[in-house]
Symmetry: C2
Subunit: 450 residues, 2 copies
Amino acid sequence: MHSESNKILVESIKRLFRRDATSHLVKIVKKTHAADLALVFESLSNYNQRRLFDLIDDVGMKGEVFSNLEEDTLLGIVEGMNVDDIVEVLDLMPKDDVADLLGRLPVEKSDDILEKMKKEGSEEVEGLLHYEDDTAGGIMVPEFIALEEGITAGEAIRSLQKEHLDVEMPFYLYVVDANGKLIGVSSLRQLVVVPPNTPLKNFMTTDVFAVKTDMDQEEVAKIVARYDILAVPVVDDTNKLVGIVTVDDVIDIIREEATEDILKMVGVGEEFVETKSIFSNIKMRMPWLFASCVGGIIASFIIGYFQSSLTKLAYLAAFIPVIMGMGGNIGVQSSTITVRGLATGRLSIRDLWTVVSKQLLVGLMLGLFYGFAVGVVAQLKYSRELFALSVGLGVLSSMTMAALAGSLVPMTLAKINIDPAIASGPFVTTAIDIISVSFYFIIATTLLGI
Amino acid sequence: MHSESNKILVESIKRLFRRDATSHLVKIVKKTHAADLALVFESLSNYNQRRLFDLIDDVGMKGEVFSNLEEDTLLGIVEGMNVDDIVEVLDLMPKDDVADLLGRLPVEKSDDILEKMKKEGSEEVEGLLHYEDDTAGGIMVPEFIALEEGITAGEAIRSLQKEHLDVEMPFYLYVVDANGKLIGVSSLRQLVVVPPNTPLKNFMTTDVFAVKTDMDQEEVAKIVARYDILAVPVVDDTNKLVGIVTVDDVIDIIREEATEDILKMVGVGEEFVETKSIFSNIKMRMPWLFASCVGGIIASFIIGYFQSSLTKLAYLAAFIPVIMGMGGNIGVQSSTITVRGLATGRLSIRDLWTVVSKQLLVGLMLGLFYGFAVGVVAQLKYSRELFALSVGLGVLSSMTMAALAGSLVPMTLAKINIDPAIASGPFVTTAIDIISVSFYFIIATTLLGI
C-alpha cells in the first residue's frame, strides 16, 4: 500500500470514529490487511486505538496486528485488555513475537499470561525468553519442519498433510537424526519431484548452513542475505535443531541496523529516538554536544591567544567560518564514505592505505581548488597578497587534514575492533576544527608578521 | 562466513597463486560457496581474477559467481572471455542478472551474446532489457510457475515434476486465466495438503498483491517487507503476469537504499563512490563543497562588516567557532532523526507540527544549558558580563534555530514531495551558520555599544 492510500485510509477511519459509524468501520477493518491496519493504529489516539482493536472480529487478525504494531502502541493496547483476551490472541501468534511482547510486560502480568496459554505454546515461548534479544536465539521461531532421515518422500508428504500446519515458512524440510541433531536439508519442491518411495537421506543436501543460538543477529542477517536463503536453521551447542530465522525477520534487522548506523554517526543513540520523550532525547544528545562544546571553547582560547594580532588586523577573523566549514564538510564526506563502506563490506580494513591515500589525494586536490578560490575572494576584498595567501593555505590545510582524518580514524578504529561509526562524531570533527584554526592563525601571523 | 574466515580464505588463495599450486587451488574453489568465492575476487588483481575464474570447473558455479560479483570486477573478467564461453555461463544464470550484465556491456558485444544464447533464454532477457533498471520490471525474473485455474492439485504436482525446473523460488504458484492474466495465488504447501482432485480455483487465494512493471523498486521492496512475502508477482498494464520479484533481491534493494540515503545526506552522490576513481569522487563531492564555500564567504563578508567592533574588542572573534559548532551539531542531529524517521516510515508528514515543536523544545532546552555553560566560561576568562551574556545568547539562538530548521526543512520538503535527505546538505547548514554568526554580532554590538 502506498503512503498516499494509507493516508486516505487513516483519514476515513478517523472520520468514521467521529461519526460513530461502527458498522461501516467493521467493514473497512475486515477488508484491510493487518499490516496496513497496524500502520493506522500509529496515527490514532490511545482511546481510538482500543476502540479500533475491539472492532477486529477475527482473533487471528488481532494477532497479526499485534505482530506489526510499534512497541509503545502495543503496550498501550495490551494494558487495557484482560489476561484471558490477551492469551486468546497470543495463542495464534508466532512464538518469537509472543516472546518479544512478554519480555516487555511487567513480570507478574507475563507470568499470568504464560500460565494461561496453551501448554505447548507457553513452553516454547518460555524457552525463547532465555535468549538475548539480538541473537539468533532471540529472533528465531521454534516452529519448523524436522523429519527423520529414514522416512520416504511419500511419508513426508503425508506427515505434512496432518502436522506442522502452524509453521510460518514451510519451504525447507530439515532432516534430523534420532537425537534431533541437524544433518541435512531438503525442500517441498524436491519432495514432490522425487519418486514417493525415495528415502529423505538419498536426496537431502548435507551441506547445510546453520547458526548457533548466540550468534549476533547482524551476522545472521548477513548470512541469509549473502547466500540468498529464505530461512536459516538455528542449533544449540550440541548441534540440536532448536529453531529457524526467517527472511522476513532478516529484512527488519537490516533496516534497524542501517538506522542504528546513521543515528550513531550523529550521536543520537543507537535506537530510534523520535518516538522517545523529550527528556530522553536530551539525555541521548547531550554527550555529543558536550564534546563539541569543549572543543569550541578550546578553539576560543586559541583565538584569544592571537588577540593582539586580531586587534591589528580585525578581518583575520572573517575567514574563520569558511576554514572551519570546508574542513568540516569534506571530513564528514570522507568519514561517511569510509564508515558506510566498512559497514556494507565494500571496504576492508586490509585496504587501509589504499583508502586513506585516495581520500588524502581527493582532499588535497579539492583543497587546492577551494583554497585558491577563497584566496582570490580575500585578495579582491582586502587587496593584501600575504593575507590572501594565508587564507588560501588555511583552507588547503584544513581540507587536506580533514579528508585524511575522516578516512584514517574510522579505518584505524575498525582495525582495533572499535565501531568506526563513532569516528564521524564530535571528537574527530572538533579536533579538526581546533587544528585548522590554529594552522590558519599561525600561518597568517607568521606571513604577515603581526 | 565471517569476515575473519573470509580473510583467511583470501590469504590462502593469494599464497597458493604465488606458489602456482593449481591443483590445491582447484580443490579449494570446489569446496567454497560461490558467494564467498565472489568476495575473494574483490581482493585479487585483475590478472589473478581471470586465473581464479578459469579454475572454476562447474559452469553453474561460474554463473553464481557472476551473479555475486561487483560490477567492475565482473566487467573486467567478461572482457577477457570469448563470446562462446560467456554464453555458456549466461545460459545457466537467472535472467534478471543476465539482463543486468548485458545492459553494462558495449552494444555490439551484448548483441553478439544475445544472438548466440539459447533462443528461449535470449528472448526473455531481451524482454527484460526494455525496463528501467530500478523498476519492478528491471529487477524481476521472468521465470515463475503459472498454472491455469481449471487444473487440479494432482495435475499441478505432476506438471511440477516435469516443468518449471529452472524456477528460482518455486514457493508460490500463480494462477492465471486463458489470457495469462493473474487471478490468484496458491502455494506448494497447499498443493500437498488438499486432496489431489481439487481444482486450483477452489483453494487459491484471489486477494493477491501484484505490482506493475514500472513501479519504483523502493516501493516494491516496501510491499515485500510490509507483508512478509517471499515474492511479489509483476504484471503489465493488462494485468498479464510477466515476472516475479523475489525477497533476496529485495534485501539487496533495502541495503542499497540505506546507503544511498546516508551518502545523499553528506552530498557524495547516490551510489557508492568508494570504488570509483579519484576524478569521479571529486566531481561528485564538488557541488556540496561549493555551496558550503559560498556560504562561508558570505559569513566572512558579514564578519567583515563588523570589522570596527572587532578592532575594539578582538576576543569577540574567539567565540565564533563554538557558536557555529554547537548550531551545526544540533542541526545535523535533528535533521538526521527527521530524515531517517521519514525514510523508515516512523514519522509521517502529517505529524509536522508535533515533530517540529518537539525538536524546537529540545533545541531550546539544550541551548539554554550550553548557552549558560559557554557564557560562564566567557565571563571567567574575560570578566565582562555583557560580553558573556552576548556569547550565551549567541549559543542559545544558534542551537534553537538549528534544531528548528533541522526538523522543519526536511518535513516541509517531504510535504512538497522533494527528497528530504538533501535537507542536511550544505544549503541548510550554511544558512544556519550565516544567521547564527549575524545574530551573535548583532547581539554583542548592541549590548556592548561598540
